[in-house]
Amino acid sequence: MDHIRNFCIIAHIDHGKSTLADRLIQRCGAVEAREFRDQILDSMDLERERGITIKANTITLSYTARDGRGYELNLIDTPGHVDFSHEVRRSLMSCDGALLVIDASQGVEAQTVANLYLAMEFNLAIVPVINKIDLPSADIERVMEEIDRDLALDPFEAIPVSAKLGTGIDELLEAIVAKLPPPAGDPEAPLRALLFDAQYDAYRGAVLLVRVLDGTLRPGTRIRLMHAGVEHKVEEVGIQRLRRVPAGQLSAGEVGYVLAGIKTLSGLAIGDTLTEAERPAAQPVPGYREAKPVVFSSIYPVDTNDYLDLTKALEKLKLNDAALVYDKDSSAALGFGFRCGFLGLLHLDVVQERLEREYGLSLILSAPSVRYQVVLDDGSEVWVDNPTFYPDPSTIKEVFEPYIKATIMTPERYLGAVMELCRERRGVDTKFNYLAAGRMEVTSELPLAEVLFDFYDRLKSLTQGYGSFDYEVLDYRPADIAKVDILVNGEKVDALSQLVHRDSARTRALKYCERLARTIPRQQFKIAIQGAIGGQIIARTTIHPFRKDVTAKCYGGDITRKRKLLEKQKEGKKKMKMVGAVEIPQAAFVAVLRTEDDEDSRT
């Protein structure tokens, strides 16, 4: 086991983690030059496009050290955004050490510290890496000071590199071998393997990624998933290079994949422990915590016929994204769908995009909501995250909503605007402090619900793109909540109902009405779009009808062409939802329900 190193790379977002992974992979020759593309571990298109790593990936590298010994380096790439700390946690559980990457010009950031604490929680050995030393603004000495002062790590252990240029990569590989410990564990003990990730292969079923802590996994072994309580027979084990490479066995300390012909995905939970059915381990691997969703939204297929495909896609995605929770939901306007819980807004975004890209689905997501705690007059308590199930207001005694602690980094010149934004969004205990020359950190306790609706976009636009934002959930506090309904020609559109703070109900309702008015095409009669709380109308817009929509000439008997035009128009209408006699294109729901808000914020 001495020749194995299981490690991950952790960093604040954008500090160059994926580029560093690329360089290590290239240096170890795991990839032919022609196969190489940037950020190779980010196999999802989405990741490469956004430059963020969402899904942790694993790859085994072969490295021959300067002392001539060969090593097997298991690199586990981890996501950098706060929404994905759940994924980070799982990755860390399968490692013995971590490279903590710090940007040479940005220095230590909020997530650098948070990730370090996480790594320490799992007793990982740490090698600090100062990246981007090629930048003109790089200030290695200042970063070393920060490593000493803010992270309490030995700054002289830090390896300066430029992942972009490949500088310092050899030194880093030597440090991985020298400073990070080999895995512990007993190959002869009863099997304990941590299931830390899974993928789905259309031909082979579930691909389990595991870290073997004790014992040995071989083809033919009958395994039991300790939490799920189900058993499977192992068909193949191996290590994950750029593609799967079968091996005779995986023993204590090793990281690899397991194929066991698992076709049904329900019951597979990331974080579960694999053991041998014949000779089970006494205890599962400890330390696994269930991720708690804080943001909720209903997902509907644009084409109601795609419901079954959506069901299957969610099942497969869930296998790969343990933090996603969902349940059946339905709407009069949008048909059958799922109520989903997410770790945060980015998570929501990523799930939507993955469903759309990887499964080719076209989706509509209802307005994201937080989960409210509602205390009724009779003293009973309900949790509501779906406006459809909001109790009759006359029976409600009190409502509580989740608060977050927001941490915002901004250049000093935008401080006023950022403070004002926090105030607008009902922020309390808003504070700021200087991080370094010209850089400020603003903290504020905000209702999570206020952050769901275009907060990040507003922040980006107020700070000309320089502001960054992160948050953690704090607690539940009393809130004055109203359920706002949207009516189209007097008919309620259930999918557009939302729970909002009473003070912002009018503004929000008006915004929805205006967006709908922009996206519902004009029809042959007037359309009234209203926002209402109960029976009270609080916002209204009108779509005026066509006044001229007829061709002048209809001669010569070519009625066929005219009818075909009409048939084409009707074909387009099949994709519309009827609310009363009003045709609402799916695009209108998409436009109304999108969280970002370019058009509105420009005005």
């Binding site: 020609n489 029809q523 042959q524 009669f525 007037k526 009808p545 066509f546 006044r547 001229k548 929509d549 007829v550 061709t551 002048a552 000439k553 209809c554 001669y555 010569g556 008997g557 070519d558 009625i559 066929t560 005219k562 009818r563 009409l566 048939e567 128009q569 009707k570 209408k573 009363g580 006699a581 045709e583």
Partner: protein, 408 residues
Amino acid sequence: MTIPPQGQPGLYLHLPFCSAICPYCDFAVMRAGEALRARFVDRLVAELPLAAGAWADPRPFDTVYFGGGTPSLLMVEELARLLDACREHLALTTPAPWVFLEANPEDVTPEVCRAWRRLGVRTLSLGVQSFDDGVLRFLGRRHTAAKARAAVEKAKAAGFDTVSIDLIFGLPGQSAAAWRRELATAVALAPDHLSCYQLTIHPRTVFGVRAARGQLSELPEGAQAALFELTHRVLADAGWPAYEVSNFARSPEHRSRHNCKYWNHTPYLGLGPSAHSFAIVPHASAGTAGAPVVARRWWNEPRLRSWEQRMAAGERPLAGEEALGPRELGAETLLLGLRTTAGVDLDDFATRFGVDLLAANALLVANLAAEGRLEIRSGPDGRRLVPTLQGLAVADGVAAAFDLPIPT
């Protein structure tokens, strides 16, 4: 479904020649010299037996329409030759069908009018387009307003049963006052029939090219609607009520009995490039009243050149055809009916297509009625769905909004 109420079939001959091509025109037309014209007449005469062979309807044609193009460019002898050929190969009503002729104002003289009347022309349709010299120049027409007025006078004096004039409105920049003046001129000339077309800029025309370059644009929708309503109000008040989106007649007998065939599924046979034909064919397996029928529509090669090549090869110059079932006929019945002031006969529709239009579109009809676009009228001939003036202005959109669950 049953055979729709039909009159006798109509015959259309397309003469694709013009002395110049108007910049707004998207019809199948071209400039041509005398030799080409003579060859064309030969070929059109040759198409008659081919078309007649495929025409099964035994009833005689009671209308013959010379359209174009500019049929008045043909010599009287050429028109006569065409009519003779029609009589030779097809059944025409006796003593004579109602003949329509489209003519350019500059071609109208008392002498030629007399000759046309002798041929049997009963409706002379004059391509006046405008009574404003500036507008005529803009439209690329070669006549003047004075010539146009004189042509109408001459035609009226010649004693045609119906003198009709075509006008175009909704030109870029046209004001309501300017268009009102033209309508006043038209009213003062007192033709029997008027067609007023709102300008549409088609992509494959000179105007279309200019529009694509941003040099020209259609009026905004609000102004179009205002001019449309103005046209209908002024003409109705003056005694020319509309019977279709663009057509106005002094009295019902002056309505275009040929064009109405296109709007109520009366069979028609078309000859010449781009001409369309339509026939209701009793279903092979049925013969009694109420038996299902299938209609067919077919059309000729749209371009003169391709039509001539097919004719030269001795083939029928067909470019396409389609069979129409109840669904297609139902959709057309609705879209065509909503373009006419008579509207759609609801009981007849229910009988023929098995769909109660009102029941299938209750909320839509209520909304359209509340918006003042449709009315349901009950009369001696049953219930009708009738467009209002505002409804005529949006007839295409209204037709598209209806749900037509017609069983096949």
